[in-house]
């Protein structure tokens, strides 16, 4: 049975926010646990929509992409420094 997308997004956001307090970056596989009944493709779709909406954010090492919650962990500027004008 297809999962309601908005409901799934809410579950993912709650799960990610809770998890982000301990670990700020998570793999897509970690987000599967937000709703064990949802299929991986549905989770992926919902998580990517949350990124579009600015509620989640991507973090990449170049070879792997992870998800984070804005405001948790180090920001881009904290990590890498602000470019001088």
């Amino acid at each position: 049975m297809a999962v309601d997308l908005e409901e799934l997004k809410q579950k993912i956001l709650e799960f990610a926010t809770k998890k982000a307090k301990h670990k700020s970056k998570m793999y897509i596989k970690d987000l599967y646990k937000a709703d064990p009944n949802a299929k991986p493709r549905e989770i992926k779709k919902a998580a990517n929509q949350l990124v579009q909406e600015g509620k989640l954010e991507f973090f990449s090492s170049g070879s792997t992409t992870m998800y984070g919650v804005p405001g948790f962990g180090k920001s881009e500027e904290d990590q890498f420094g602000k470019l001088e004008e």
């Binding site: 596989k29 991986p40 992926k44 070879s63 881009e76």
Partner: protein, 428 residues
């Protein structure tokens, strides 16, 4: 000379002394034309040679708005010394199929990159993308706008995404191509836009398409899913041309390797004896081939291209699971489908892809390549999930490499048996 500062780089400079053109020369030349980023790059490289460790930090930025790939964030950890490379992000640009460009496009790309980036490019990266090396965060969106609106190209794949599909030159210029490689590459790129631009998988996934078993894009060694052109019918033979090769009127290998005298062409030694399945022989002055035994190695066709050509009943062989040696060593692709028609809209192939992606997305561990999942869970499980029929070609070494196992429900009595009853019939 433009107002730029050149760092003292004795070790980098030494690389200019070799017999081949050096990247140091190219970068320095560009820097002296006014690109401080190029000179700072060499300065930082020199520092890395001194310290014997990198001074780059990776990560963070993944793309432009709406994209989860295409940009690889790169930052200097010595920004005070090398401020022009404090931010030095790489942008991957999806190359056109088979890398066909016209000079106007390349000029426009270079002009844009001179304006918005370091001016340095790498055409092409291993995946096939055009790689634009070094820009700052504030230039990412303008670069993306210029690429998409003025040059009609898109960002390529990076991170846990589908990587930019790539293909050989195919039928555009190669008479051996059994596939329209460009049509396949373009169709896959368009079909899987979401997977290409937004992370979907445990790790990267690569499609590569080669038109014939010569495999000019090395799909069998480098791609999670290799699509390699092949044929079902007989190799086409022009017996008159065979005679011309034997008689010396035609040059073997189309004249390649002719920089030294290898003596007269010997069809027995150079073709027939080298056939891996020994399926060729001469009958009088006619070349014969037992096509049932041919493994499509392409050697005879490569040596005598005017006499031999691939058949006309063409399609593709699909192999899966190649990867570079991060875990468990490098791995070549394993055969999955010996022959599949590859005509638009490629539905049969895409159904196969959906099945293997479903399995990988469900079962793949973080940072586990598709080939590693097959290694971990067995080829048998791959065959089951891909709904394929096991065939002898999948078994590399019978007995010592028992990839195909029985499952319990296929065995009478399952795994449980009465050992006493067994021993009554069989001595220990």
């Amino acid at each position: 000379m433009a107002d730029v500062k050149k760092h003292d780089t004795p070790m980098c400079d030494e690389l200019k002394s070799g017999p081949w053109p050096s990247f140091v020369d190219d970068i320095e030349q560009k820097g002296l034309q006014g690109k401080q980023a190029c000179l700072d790059l060499l300065g930082q490289l020199e520092l890395s040679y001194v310290h014997k460790e990198t001074h780059w930090k990776h990560g963070g930025i993944v793309g432009v708005f709406g994209y989860g790939g295409g940009v690889i964030g790169r930052y200097s950890d010595a920004p005070e010394q090398f401020p022009a490379v404090a931010h030095f992000h790489t942008i991957r640009v999806n190359q056109p199929a088979s890398k066909f460009y016209n000079s106007a496009f390349l000029r426009k790309l270079c002009d844009m990159w001179d304006h918005r980036g370091s001016g340095m490019t790498n055409l092409h990266g291993s995946t096939g993308d055009m790689v634009l090396l070094g820009t700052t965060t504030d230039q990412l969106e303008p670069v993306f706008y210029d690429l998409t609106h003025q040059m009609s190209v898109d960002l390529g794949g990076s991170g846990s995404n589908l990587r930019t599909p790539s293909c050989c030159v195919g039928r555009a210029r190669c008479e051996w191509s059994c596939l329209d490689t460009q049509a396949i590459c373009y169709d896959l790129t368009q079909t899987y836009q979401d997977e290409l631009h937004r992370p979907a998988f445990p790790y990267k996934f690569k499609f590569k398409v080669s038109g014939c078993p010569n495999d000019c894009v090395a799909a069998i060694a480098r791609s999670c899913c290799s699509i390699i052109g092949t044929w079902k019918d007989d190799i086409r033979i022009d017996q008159e041309a065979v005679k011309a090769y034997i008689g010396g009127e035609l040059k073997p290998n189309a004249g390649a390797h002719s920089d030294r005298d290898w003596g007269a062409f010997d069809i027995q030694k150079e073709v027939i004896d080298l056939c891996p399945t020994k399926c060729m022989w001469m009958e009088g002055d006619e070349l014969k081939i037992d096509n049932r035994e041919c493994t499509r190695c392409m050697h005879c066709i490569n040596v005598m291209p005017e006499a031999l050509r691939p058949g006309t009943d063409t399609g593709a062989t699909i192999l899966v699971g190649a990867k570079a040696p991060i875990l468990e060593g490098a791995q070549m692709s394993t055969l999955a489908i010996p022959f599949i028609r590859m005509e638009p809209p490629f539905d049969e192939f895409k159904e196969f892809v959906d099945k293997i992606w479903d399995w990988w997305m469900e079962e793949g561990k973080n940072r586990e390549r598709f080939g590693e999942l097959i290694q971990r869970q067995s080829l048998q499980e791959f065959i089951r999930r891909a709904e394929l029929k096991p065939i002898p070609q999948m078994v590399k070494e019978p007995r010592s490499n028992p990839y195909v196992f029985w499952s319990e429900d296929e065995v009478e009595g399952g795994w449980k048996r009465d050992i006493k009853a067994f021993r009554a019939r069989h001595a220990a």
